[in-house]
């Protein structure tokens, strides 16, 4: 513990990040530049989220880290271990117990509550990037609220696939003002962004941007009148816990094409199974 400052980053850096967070909270959906630091992990492994977590943690926090909804994948385990070692904070896998949750590509199924902070790892914060590569131009487009281009992307989807095929990182409009990339969460999670009692922070380390949704912010997924937004998921129940309303991962179980659908949110699935819910393959898995 004495080898590191609390939560790895020095206090000046954390102040800088907190200032960026406050600004981001004051202007929901607006991308605030910040001086992203080198972290002891490669870009793409969540350096933006880790810096936000480091800046938010206090000693009596309880941290949960998930990667694609799971608490037990490499990325989640590593980051959790990192903060156990550098901040000495308590950790948990239970969504209800956590005060700070760092996530990659999911929002927990269990509704968040007042006082919790959800921190997203963001690879590319700029939703306009793929259609307009010039940063000078995208910033101007945000400033002047010129968002026609976002619908061009959705138009292309429908023209090509007959429907809006964008299934993750689905663009949203925040409080009727800024268009925002919600990080690569499945569009199934998009409705949870809106009117959420928790604070939601988004950090892009390589791109050096922080943005945020303060509690109870209105977030609307972009769509067309005749092609409305649908928060879709695989049309199955969880094969372990039987949940029909949670986001599912498809898992190929052998080399002859057998597959199963399981909750991507491991905490949600475990909690349900502990409560006695079972799915199609619950016994096989056990």
């Amino acid at each position: 513990m004495s080898d590191y400052n609390f939560a790895y980053l020095d206090e000046q850096t954390k102040r800088m990040i907190r200032r960026a967070i406050l600004k981001a909270l004051a202007i929901p959906g607006y991308q605030v530049p910040f001086a992203s630091r080198e972290m002891p992990m490669p870009y793409g492994w969540g350096t933006g989220g880790v810096q936000l977590t480091a800046a938010c943690l206090v000693p009596d926090d309880r941290l949960k880290v998930i990667d694609q909804g799971a608490d037990d994948t490499t990325n989640a385990v590593s980051i959790r271990a990192f903060f156990q070692r550098t901040a000495g904070v308590a950790v948990t896998t239970a969504t209800t117990q956590a005060t700070v949750i760092q996530t990659r590509h999911r929002i927990p199924e269990t509704p968040l509550t007042d006082g919790q902070i959800l921190i997203y790892q963001v690879p590319i914060p700029e939703p306009l990037r793929f259609l307009e590569p010039r940063e000078t131009e995208t910033r101007r487009m945000h400033a002047l609220e010129e968002y026609g281009l976002m619908h061009v992307k959705l138009y292309e989807d429908i023209a090509r696939h007959g429907q809006i095929a964008t299934s993750y990182a689905y663009p949203v409009k925040v409080e009727g003002r800024y268009v925002m990339d919600p990080s690569p969460i499945p569009k199934f999670d998009n409705p949870k962004l809106s009117d959420n009692p928790a604070i939601q922070l988004f950090g892009a380390g390589r791109e050096q941007r922080i943005y945020a949704l303060p509690p109870w912010t209105q977030v609307v997924s972009l769509d067309f009148d005749d092609h409305p937004f649908v928060a879709s998921k695989a049309d199955h129940a969880c094969d372990l816990c039987g949940a029909r309303d949670s986001y599912l991962d498809e898992v190929v179980t052998d080399d002859v094409g057998s597959r199963m659908f399981v909750c991507s949110d491991t905490d949600h699935c475990t909690t349900r199974r502990d409560a006695g819910h079972t799915g199609r393959l619950a016994e096989v898995a056990a």
Partner: protein
């Protein structure tokens, strides 16, 4: 009736060099104004000052009673995607090469708040037809189009919002002669049917003879002569215009 666009004493300098200076004219609704001159005569500088891509150092530009240079950038850009259109010499500068023809045409509609996919697609299809692009190419990217088709797509993309003022920069440059004629005919029909006011910059006197009502001749950043197109071409007054007209190769 009042002029749609009034320009007074416009000047743009690049350091000590003159881009254009002392340019004044009125453009009336439904009028096509040609600006001719050689490379470096200041005609392109003038056009980009008028279209808001460059800020002039002096002078005024009034559009429909509004001071364009005093306008907030957001208002000016809103004008640029609703009431104005800009057809670039190189279609690549005016098109989004990475999205389909339909999306290219629909973009201005979506940028002005249209949110009904079916309507946007129908409008795109209608406009592709008007510029003689087959409807079954609607989902193809412009990179698969010929130069003439790209140019027509650019025109469709610009005119879909029913603009009042169109800036054109060498719209037929780089096209085959046969393709040029078709494009000019198309433009002339659209100008007439939509009552467009057009400022067209070109070095091709044949193009302005067929398209422009009025002509402005520029050299060295200054307008040396302006008037009715056939008057300027048939009875040029200024030494430079006489040289320009007499230099055209006859076929």
């Amino acid at each position: 009736m009042t002029p749609l666009l009034s320009v007074r004493d416009l000047e743009r300098r690049y350091g000590p060099r003159i881009g254009c200076t002392g340019v004044s004219f009125d453009l009336w609704p439904g009028e096509v104004l040609g600006i001719v001159g050689e490379s470096g005569s200041g005609k392109s500088t003038l056009l980009s000052c008028l279209a808001g891509q460059q800020r002039p150092d002096a002078g005024t530009v009034t559009y429909d009673g509004r001071d364009v240079l005093a306008m907030a950038e957001s208002d000016r850009r809103r004008l640029a995607r609703t009431e104005w259109a800009h057809v670039h010499q190189h279609a690549r500068d005016g098109l989004r090469m990475g999205v389909s023809a339909g999306a290219n045409v629909g973009e201005r509609l979506m940028a002005t708040g249209h949110r009904h996919y079916g309507d946007i697609r129908a409008a795109a299809l209608d406009w592709l037809g008007r510029v003689e692009i087959a409807g079954d190419r609607i989902d193809d990217r412009p990179s698969s189009f010929s130069g003439g088709m790209q140019q027509r797509l650019q025109i469709a993309r610009n005119l879909v919002t029913g603009p009042r003022l169109v800036f054109m920069d060498e719209p037929t440059g780089g096209l085959d002669v046969s393709v040029q004629a078709r494009l000019l005919d198309l433009l002339r029909g659209l100008v007439r049917d939509m009552g467009l006011s057009v400022i067209i910059v070109t070095h091709d006197l044949a193009v302005v003879r067929l398209l422009a009502d009025r002509l402005m001749v520029m050299t060295g950043g200054r307008v040396v002569e302006q008037g009715l197109t056939d008057q300027v071409l048939d009875d040029p007054q200024h030494a430079y215009t006489q040289l320009l007209v007499s230099s055209v190769l006859q076929v």
